[in-house]
């Protein structure tokens, strides 16, 4: 059974990082997990590794409300980087059920989905399986 080689969680909430990592591992469909506590750290990493495809994650869970560089700003910065890897699947993953944020989500057509926390095991398994083309 094939696995996703690299998944990244970008979120300043340590509890979410902990729970999400645990859930991802429990699916047994993920090889490695790359964690960033804010958008700025994440974008720095992407910039440095842009030409090394194996270092760029296949799947990203991105929080919106973060210090320094929030989720939207992260996405804007990301657009300016040209990657060796063609496709990165990004899910917004936020506690906000605000209509403003959901409206904003539609302005980024390249996003795969908008997940509202809390996220349970079923939800995360569904996302991973989708990514692997199992569903």
């Amino acid at each position: 059974m094939s696995k996703i080689s690299l998944v990244s969680i970008i979120d300043d909430d340590a509890i979410f990082q902990f729970t999400a990592k645990k859930l991802l591992k429990s699916t047994d469909l993920v090889d490695q997990i790359l964690q960033f506590s804010d958008g700025e750290k994440a974008i720095d990493y992407f910039k440095v590794n842009k030409s090394i495809p194996e270092n760029i994650p296949d799947l990203v869970f991105l929080d919106i409300n973060m210090p320094y560089l929030d989720g939207w700003q992260f996405l804007d910065e990301l657009k300016t980087i040209s990657f060796a890897k063609e496709l990165i699947t990004i899910y917004i993953c936020t506690s906000s059920n605000s209509l403003f944020d959901q409206q904003r989500f539609t302005e980024y057509p390249n996003l795969k989905g908008y997940l509202i926390k809390p996220i349970d095991k079923n939800k995360i398994t569904e996302v991973v399986k989708k990514e692997l083309g199992l569903i």
Binding site: D13, A14, I15, F16, F18, T19, K22, L23, S26, D38, E40, I64, N65, P67, Y68, D70, Q73, T94, S95, S96, N97, S98, F100, D101, I116, K117, P118, I119, D120, K121
Partner: protein, 791 residues
Amino acid sequence: MITSTKNIIEESEVRKQIKVSEDKFQNLISQAPVSIAILEGSSFITVTINKMALEIWGKSYEEVINKPLFESSPELEDGLKTILNNIYTTGVPFISNEIPVQLKRIGKPNMAYFNSVYQPLRDVDNKIYGIILIGTEITEAVNARKKLEASELLNRSMLESSPYCLKILDLEGRVQFMNFNGLCQMEIDNFSTIKNINWDSLWNSENQSLVKASIDIALKGETAQFTAFCPTAKGTPKWWDVVVSPVRNPGEPVQQIISISKDITEQKRSQEATDKMASQLKLATDSANVGVWSLNMQSQELEWSALHKKMWGYDGDRTDLTYEDWYKLIVPEDKEMASKRVEEARINRNFYEVEYRINKADDNVIHFIRSVGSYYYNDKGEAVTMNGISLDITEQKRFTEELEKKVTERTKELGFKTKQLETINKALNENIQLVIQQDKTIETIKEFKFLADSIPQIVWTSQPDGYLDYYNQHWIDYTGMSIEETQGWGWEPVIHPDDLQQCIDVWTESYTTGKPYEIEYRFKRASDGIYKWHLGRALPMRNDQGEIVKWFGSCTDIDAYKKALDLENKISQFEDFNRIVAHNLRGPAGSIDMLISMLAEADSEEERNEMMGMLKDSSISLITTLDELMHVLEVRFNKNMTYDTCNLQELVEETKNMMRGQMISKQAIIKTNFEVPNIEFPLIYMKSIFYNIISNSLKYSHADVPALIEVSSKKHFGKTVLEFADNGLGIDLKKHGKNMFKLNKVFHSGFDSKGVGLFMTKTQIETFGGMISAESEPGKGTKFIITLENV
């Protein structure tokens, strides 16, 4: 044999003859009146030299004979060596004439002149073996010629140096020579034009016979003299004094005639002028009432003109009048002064000029006299006569006095009038300027009013003292009041009661200080009684002196804008609230939910404990955020909280105390400048605002630079502006501007910040009708500007 003997005899005979001839040659040479020397060989050995040559060289026979020439006479080497070498090698003879040679004849240095010929000597094979030098003395001839030249030169230079026009005529009376000065005086450019011309033909026809006669006299050996008029070649009229003399040696016939003409035109003219002047003087003295007198110093005899006598009041025909008759009429007070002047003139030998009074003999009237005179001296330097003139200056004196008096009066009068005129002029000018200015102003105002009436906005003007003297049509339409009702002031019925006092304050400040006027207030619309927000603005118009002549004001309806702004504020606040709920409340709540669902699946007791810890953190975070939100809502709900008088300086001191630790560690300095010392605001919020902004500045300061925070307050367009400026890290406003005051926004890595402070500050300020904005540049600092409505 016989033949041979004979031959021998013949030979010796021949030799004898040769010897004789050689001796003769030597003798000849030594006696010759020329200098001869024969040099042989390339070193020019003197083999033969005669007495004269020795004399020229200044050597004795023994000194030079059989010796190379330049050894015996090295002094000759310079001039002679190249010449001799040249002859010796090329065979070309050298000839030169009149060579000066310094000779010592009879012990005396003597200048002699020679013509020299140096010729090569050739043997039978035509080969040059020597040079013969032959010199002929021509000293006498040269000297004679020089003497002649000198005398001719002398003659010529004498003739030329004469200042007169000098001519030499031949016996026929034709001009042979004229000197340079003569040519100049006669204005003749080229002597050849008159050479050989009969002298008399140069004169006017009426003088030609006179000239001819003078030549005849000279030919007879006598000297003739005449004065005549003769224009120059160019027609300049000139008078000449001419002397014509014969040139001859004593006892010999006349050879030439010399004529010397002296230009006497100037003399002639001055003579004529003098004559003319004398007659004119007589005329002048008589007609000018000038008395002429002459006193003989020895006899004390006085000659004075008839006019002079009359001047003194005597009969002009009297002849018996003496010096005493003249002197006695001088008034006693002036006598000493007059005598003194006359005496001074005698000693100094110059003119005297004196004024004195006389008491006229006939009518005893005092007259003023000016007397001018001088002494005349004989050859021995003795004063012989004293001559002078006297002038009656009484009338003149009176006239002058009168004139002076009048001039003084007129000057005084004129001065006064000029002053008056200046004053009037100045006033006039000022008036004109004023009128021009007024005209301009009126024009401007007329134009302005025309424009003003045609725009859908309230426009008004005011006098410098704040008296409103014009409203446009729109004001009348909007307020429903007539011009008369609102003339001067009359805004009370129109303006919202809450805005009235501020309006009066701001306007008063503007027109008293000249500060541009800007204020927001509500005006009641006459048609429906609704108050609408207006932005009032006014600017002063100044004249050339910078004085305010008029205020131009406008009131723009900003009601829609105000409402939109209000709505935007509300939306913004709603957005903020929504965000807080969405992120800050839902975040920890979501975590709690996830943790609880995972608890059941925990792998171990250890993991379960870890999750329990996280659960606790999440619930604390949830409660904290809820508390903060409660605070924010509290602020909102407490909109009607009572205002306190907040002393800004006290607030700074209090904040400093609260943050003492951070202040010290950041080496912070807070400077204050409060133009407005107190502001009306709920005190606890203002404390919170000060705390949040100052702690923000301290937190985001440069590590290596002491923090400087400047807090100031001022009035700006009727509002109070509170500013906090720091020298800290600053914020990239392009990136973060919109999020600046949002909850949980943090803009700098590595600082402990929850981002609550500025959100709270904003909420507090906006709830009480204020505004907060920020200016910042990364690395340079941040400035927070709080604008508060006056309460």
